[in-house]
């Protein structure tokens, strides 16, 4: 039933002479190009793009889309990525012309609705964080981390301190050490205890006057709330360092507790996770940061400010680290986050976290007999199960389970992360799944463990492809369609 012809590479589908978009004829006086542009600047040929008609384009991409799993079509328990339902209202409201067709340099008087929205979002995020100052500019969580580390550097520079180290637990997202390195710090790993918490002795041993920041994810990547968080904050502050909260897992604690209250000096939000921006195959996201009053002067600019005349962009921030991208930020995602928060209100946000945690604990309770969870029988919004015993007993790996789940119509959990759990299956159901779905998923997991190992090694069996050769892709990389004789050069432009 699949239309495999339509999904051939675009250049194979192309045919000289096909056209889709045409533009109106020029309505300004015709001047020879050579009078406007130096001939050395002009390309000798047309751009190398495929020649297609609109039905080609529509059918090609529509058929490609059907080769994906997505939140709108499947349960997607991809831990740490928080693949929850994307409310349709947000899409419609973010697409209003008065939201979408705004130029970043149009006069502020013509942007009062947008600036009011962004101002209110700054305030709501500050309240949720328990930290008073917010910049909406960072384009993604990782950029929020990076911006915060630049702020820490600026803060210490102004105090005349040269601090070189950024600490993060071994369970941290890879972005933490990577951000530290890009910001010019030395990344130092702190060990976790067998329970997955920060090893306080190791932390103590690594904290010193060179420590700029300790980055912690809480709840952590094992889905556990760090019980010593207040003690950790005191230890970090005790050596003059700053505590950074990676907000990737904020969906577990909305309205329950606040990073500012447990000692964080800085944090980022992942708007696309916590406040349900559509992930669009990997982006766009948005990574606003919230900080203490002490650090507020260093926030990336502009912020939205309000005075008697209305709302304006505040660029007059002499201690700011500057800007970390062009224009204001990923506004389209921020608008969706605003709509999400306004749809829920204080009680609704708390219910979101409660049900994210309820669903995760329920699923954990259902699967723990087969898939032991090394961290115990309670979790926050996600948990990390281990297939290590299955691997030892039946030669079934976490990857085998992940691949076989696809046959049953479930997206796979995150596998082999965090690296401190063997044969890890990191499962995050989110609050927008039903008990029935969770039951079906758990039963499918059990069923898979009863299947012959050989069947699983070759899974998936029903997907368009199965077990791609990733080693070959990396050793002999093919990253673009090679130019072949079959992809004809575009037809010459008519001289009309």
């Amino acid at each position: 039933m699949r239309n495999t012809r339509a999904t051939q590479p675009l250049f194979d589908l192309a045919k000289p002479g096909r056209r889709a978009t045409r533009f109106p004829a020029s309505d300004v006086p015709d001047v020879p190009l050579s009078k406007i542009l130096p001939t050395t600047a002009v390309a000798a040929t047309l751009p190398e793009l495929p020649e297609l008609a609109e039905p080609d384009v529509v059918r090609h991409f529509t058929n490609l889309s059907t080769l994906n799993m997505s939140v709108d079509t499947h349960f997607y328990p991809l831990g740490s990525c928080t693949m929850k339902h994307n409310p349709k209202r947000n899409e419609r409201l973010a697409s209003l012309p008065g939201m979408l067709d705004l130029h970043p340099y149009q006069p502020e008087e013509t942007l009062q609705g947008m600036l009011a929205l962004l101002y209110e979002l700054q305030q709501m995020l500050a309240e949720i964080a328990g930290l008073p100052a917010v910049s909406l500019q960072p384009a993604a969580g990782a950029q929020g981390e990076f911006s915060s580390l630049l702020m820490a550097a600026a803060y210490f520079r102004e105090r005349g301190e040269r601090r070189t180290k950024v600490l993060a637990p071994d369970s941290a997202h890879g972005t933490n050490p990577a951000s530290a390195a890009v910001a010019g710090f030395q990344a130092v790993t702190v060990k976790s205890t067998p329970q997955g918490f920060v090893d306080l002795e190791d932390l103590q041993a690594k904290l010193d006057e060179h420590t700029a920041v300790f980055m912690i994810t809480n709840p952590n990547t094992l889905g556990m709330f760090e019980p010593n968080i207040k003690r950790i904050a005191e230890m970090v502050h005790g050596v003059g360092g700053l505590l950074y909260l990676d907000g990737a897992n904020m969906n577990a604690i909305l309205g329950i507790c606040r990073p500012g209250d447990f000692g964080a000096d800085m944090m980022h939000f992942n708007c696309h996770k916590t406040f349900s921006g559509p992930h669009g195959s990997g982006g766009p996201g948005a990574g606003p940061i919230a900080v203490t009053a002490t650090l507020a002067p260093y926030l990336p600019a502009p912020l939205v400010a309000r005075d008697g005349k209305g709302y304006r962009l505040d660029n007059d921030r002499p201690k700011s680290i500057g800007r970390v991208r062009s224009f204001f930020g990923n506004v389209g995602i921020l608008v969706r986050a605003y709509c999400y928060i306004r749809s829920h209100g204080p009680d609704g946000l708390k219910r979101v976290s409660e049900h994210a945690v309820l669903n995760a604990n329920y699923l954990l309770a259902r699967v723990k007999h087969i898939f032991p969870v090394p961290q115990g029988d309670r979790c926050m919004h996600e948990f990390v199960a281990s297939a290590a015993k299955l691997k030892a007993d039946k030669n079934i790996s976490a990857m085998d389970i992940a691949k076989r789940l696809l046959d049953y119509g479930f997206h796979a959990p995150t596998v082999y992360f965090p690296p401190i759990v063997r044969e890890a299956l990191m499962i995050e159901p989110t609050e927008t799944e039903s008990k029935e779905t969770l039951d079906a998923f758990a039963e499918t997991l059990f069923r898979i463990t009863e299947e012959p190992a050989d069947l699983l090694h070759e899974a998936p069996h029903t997907t368009p492809i199965s077990r791609p050769d990733e080693v070959r892709a990396a050793r002999q990389p093919i990253m673009v369609t090679p130019v072949t004789h079959e992809s004809p050069a575009p037809t010459k432009k008519s001289e009309s």
């Binding site: 533009f23 300004v28 406007i36 542009l37 050395t40 047309l46 751009p47 190398e48 609109e54 991409f61 889309s65 994906n68 997505s70 939140v71 409310p87 899409e91 209003l96 012309p97 008065g98 705004l102 130029h103 340099y105 149009q106 008087e109 947008m114 009011a116 709501m124 328990g130 890879g174 050490p177 390195a181 890009v182 990344a187 709330f225 968080i229 909305l254 507790c257 982006g283 766009p284 990336p300 970390v324 062009s326 224009f327 204001f328 930020g329 990923n330 389209g332 749809s343 945690v357 309670r378 008990k435 997907t463 368009p464 199965s466 791609p468 990396a474 990389p477 093919i478 990253m479 432009k493």
Partner: protein, 456 residues
Amino acid sequence: MPFLLNTPEDEQAMLAAIGVASLDELFAMVPGDLRLRRELAIPPALTEIELTAHMGALARANVAAGEKVCFLGGGSYDHFIPAVVDAIAGRAEFYTSYTPYQAEASQGNLQAFFEYQTLISRLTGMEVANASLYDGATAATEAVLMSMSATGRAGHIVTAASVHPEYRQTLSAYLHHLEVEQTTVGTPTGAIAPQDLFDAVRDDTACVLVQHPNFFGCLEEVERLVQIAHDKGAMFIVIADPISLGLLKRPGDYDADIVVAEGQSLGNPMSFGGPYLGIMACRERLVRRMPGRIAGQTVDRRGKRCWVLTLQTREQHIRRDKATSNICTNQGLLALRAMVYLAQLGPHGLREAAELCLRKAHYARERLAAVERLELPFARPTFKEFVVRDRDGQVASLLGELAANDVFAGVPLATWYPELADCFLVAVTEKRTRKEIDALAASLASSNRKVAPAHA
């Protein structure tokens, strides 16, 4: 709650299965003294009807540039977006999917990334491209970081003053803590003088960063500039306008090492500056230093052609602090839009769009130059943007007067270039008509002068 599925009965059954009495008990691992003992102080929930009304009011408090006559540019442009782009990008299977970690469940996204990379590489004349970065500014910054690691020269870089000021600010923020020396070459004629670049580039310079067409809309003498950079072993990084590549020589054809661009022009709405996408393409020898996602072609266990994320050992989730960058997400949805746009326009469509921008901008330039109060400070050839000087030095009131009549006439340059405080930047896309351009010239000619002209 509109998006929760558990009924009160479900909730009770689930709590029982877990072995706890209440939802609150689930949070036992959060120390009691850290619990928030009050409601969040945010506004109460709105129903969809109420939220729709509220958002409608906020939207109406803005003036939609796309619905008025928009001559604003400077890195964000009012280009036409074919309906096909919205129709495809709105498909839920693209819209609500995630990074293709499970290749079998993501062949649509992976093939789309691969085809995007193919189109970008053909458009720029480079061998490889990644599957997008945050925006043009961060793409330019990442390119500079790449050049520093590829050349082993981490101490000095050269940029042109005609590179978008916000891109240079982003670069400075990223480089500040690394203590890299930056030389900015002035562009008093609207573009770099080759001799000035020659004087600025040293034997330890990692790269020369140039925008072409540049922030002022002017073309740079790229072929001479690239020679100067390469003669001293520096890499040449070009920030391109992707629409201009429908007409102008490809950076690969004049020997650039890395090409970056803001991809907003390719089928993405202006959206008050974001989300946009950073385009990046480079020479094959640099690919292992390139940040971001890359889709690669391979075969599956049955020998069938397929696609996967590849060269992941460069990335933060594998290499952690040794990664090429800290970038984790990409701008997949916007890259999809850019690709559908390019496929829909094809070679002839992109050429037409580029030519229309060029011709209309050229016409506008001549019409505005003929207004007595105005003059063109730069004589260099331009593409779709150009700088205009108000000889009365009343840029703010002039632009304000036109904006009040629903014409966004240009971007004032005073914010970034004190020496051009009497100037503004005018952009003309294929959407502008001769009538609109004529009306702009007429409005500018008839606007109130602070000082009455000495001659009629």
